[in-house]
Amino acid sequence: MEWLRLVPYWVYVALMMIGLYGAIARGNLVKKVIGLGLFQTGIFIFYISLAVVDGGTAPIAREGWEGPYTSPLPHVLILTAIVVSVSTMAVALALVIEVQRAYGTVEADELAALDAEGTEA
């Protein structure tokens, strides 16, 4: 069952690659944002997998249990990273809304065409 312990890591790499592909290859800005979200979620899974300790329980002190506990540090880090990720999403979506207002489209190729017109003029 050794391979089972590695599953989270495979999931993390797969999610990250799917997300990266979405963020770079997709033409729609909203889909790019979704890609970024997947990318970061993959990283969260990686950190959470790091925290696992064999036989460990949730790191909450209770009577009659001396441990082991899973490591709380990666959880705390990822809590922070989730907040960072949510803020990034918020800024990204706000930008997408502004782009829609200013250009009337959120497709990267159409935006590039509109920008190129601006440069010629």
Partner: protein
């Protein structure tokens, strides 16, 4: 003696004033608060830099929350980040006062307090990245600095909607870069079990760590290197930079060009030399040649593309891509002289680019745009602004007498020391290309005929100089600092850069 709480205050002061600005102040008061806060930060940072010089071992450490490192988060100031902190604080303290008119022209009056609040939070991020001794803290503060930067760049939307697409592209690339850094830090955490950077470095040196997890360490190294390259906009990860700098309001470009990428370079130096160590980064992994190639392409391609631009902001942005190449060159040489050259170039480029973007901001404020076609005869009508532009451009070229000459001298010497004459040739060719785009700006300023029609969009201009104290003076101060450095008056800065380089690359035969 310096007060022990100064390291915390460097970050706390702009955080508090930034929040209060957004919450309680309006309009010009918000700008005044941002200016005062940046001056206070400068005073604190200078105090800290002096303390570092006299501290035992050249390190000032501060345990946040009273939790001793390596368990707690440590603010750790050594000569390297003292140097970068001074650069960031000086640029903040000079650019903020000079930014008021440009920002008021670009941002609606009812949003000014939010702008200045975010402006200060951006400095919180940049100062925090530089001062912290905790790897995860670097990531979080990098994101604080970046998120605020995206918003600041997007503020150019009122004048030019392309600021929005540029900010979005910057956001995607920046987030991907920061996420790579995050994964890399996770790998390092797994290998070393610590987040404190000094502790991490010590544990990576243990032979059993290197034996047991060599592959993980190499993976961490690649991920962090990729992330840092995106953040410092080193070729081929520079694509976000020209758009972001060209379409942001000019004062924002001045702040970012002189601090944000510089902090990226600092993070690169910290991870390559401070954590992984020179031996792993440069002797066991082929980082040096890779960095040198990327840097050479950045210098040559960046300068060439800068020559082709007609918009001054875009020209300066491409020249930034090239100048970051020089810093990467110094980092990649992996010698004391090379690193000192990189640090000096960091300082001189911050001063020069800050001054140039401020001068361009003054032009935009007066003329509505800043294109090379519109510069004819401006030397007579706006002599101070034109003077700042000229000095700055000469600094980018590295003419003897400017600070650019000093740093490029270090770089060329370091390259020749190691027999890498192609690197020296790249520096020289890059400087020649810089001379080409500098002439494109300087020549029309001073040599154009007297009676040139005023540029379009300058109806209300009347051929007057920009307001002196608020637009011209900050640029002049930066130019004077850069000249002082070039004329050999920059002893303390040079000494600090050399000492920092010596700390990171111990002389042969050392420990």
């Amino acid at each position: 003696m310096s007060h022990p709480d100064v390291p915390a205050l460097v970050v706390v002061v702009p955080l508090l004033t930034g929040l209060l600005t957004a919450l309680a102040l309006r309009g010009r008061w918000a700008w005044a608060a941002a200016t005062l806060s940046s001056w206070l930060v400068l005073a604190l940072v200078l105090d800290l830099a002096l303390a570092v010089q006299h501290a035992p071992g050249g390190v000032v450490s501060y345990a946040l929350g009273g939790w001793a490192p390596p368990v707690g988060i440590e603010y750790r100031v050594d000569r390297l980040n003292a140097f970068v902190l001074v650069v960031v604080a000086v640029m903040g303290a000079v650019v903020t006062p000079g930014a008021r008119l440009g920002v008021e022209a670009a941002v609606p009056a009812d949003r000014l307090h939010l702008f200045w609040g975010v402006w200060q939070l951006c400095q919180v991020g940049l100062l925090g990245i530089t001062i912290t001794g905790d790897a995860f803290n670097v990531y979080v503060l990098l994101e604080i600095g970046s998120l605020t930067t995206y918003t600041l760049v997007a503020m150019g939307k009122h004048r030019d909607r392309r600021a929005l697409t540029a900010a979005f592209q910057y956001l995607v690339m920046g987030t991907v870069g920061a996420s790579f850094l995050l994964v890399g830090i996770g790998y390092l955490l797994q290998v070393t079990g610590t987040l404190n950077m000094a502790d991490m470095a010590a544990r990576l040196l243990e032979p059993e760590t290197a034996r047991a997890s060599g592959r993980t360490i190499r993976a961490a190294f690649s991920l962090i290197a990729a992330g840092v390259c995106l953040k410092m906009a080193l070729f081929p990860a520079h694509t976000w930079l020209p758009g972001a700098y060209a379409h942001a309001p000019a004062p924002v470009s001045a702040l970012l060009a002189s601090t944000a990428t510089k902090v990226g370079v600092y993070v690169a130096i910290r991870f390559l030399y401070g954590i992984f160590g020179r031996e792993l980064s440069f002797e066991r992994l082929p980082t040096g040649p890779l960095l040198l190639v990327c840097a050479a392409v950045a210098i040559l391609a960046g300068s060439l593309l800068a020559c082709r631009q007609r918009d001054l902001k875009r020209l300066l942005a491409w020249s930034s891509v090239a100048q970051i190449g020089y810093m990467a060159l110094g980092v990649g040489l992996a010698s004391k002289a090379g690193l000192a050259g990189a640090l000096l170039h960091l300082l001189q480029h911050a001063l020069v680019k800050g001054a140039l973007f401020l001068a361009v901001g003054a032009l935009v404020w007066r003329l509505g745009a800043a294109r090379t076609d519109d510069l004819g005869g401006l030397g007579r009508r706006m002599p101070w602004t034109a003077g700042v532009l000229t000095l700055g451009m000469l600094g980018l070229v590295g003419v003897p007498g400017t600070a650019g000459f000093v740093s490029k001298w270090y770089l060329v010497t370091a390259a020749l020391e190691q027999g890498l004459w192609p690197v020296a040739v790249v520096v020289l060719v890059g400087s020649l290309l810089a001379a080409a785009y500098a002439l494109k700006v300087i020549e029309p300023l001073w040599a154009a005929p007297e009676d040139l029609p005023p540029p379009a969009g300058a109806a209300a201009w009347g051929g007057r100089e920009s307001p002196f104290s608020s637009l011209v003076l900050p640029g002049l101060v930066l130019s004077a600092l850069s000249l002082g450095l070039g004329l050999g008056l920059g002893g303390p800065a040079q000494g600090l850069a050399l000492a920092a380089a010596e700390d990171l690359v111990p002389a042969r035969g050392g420990p």
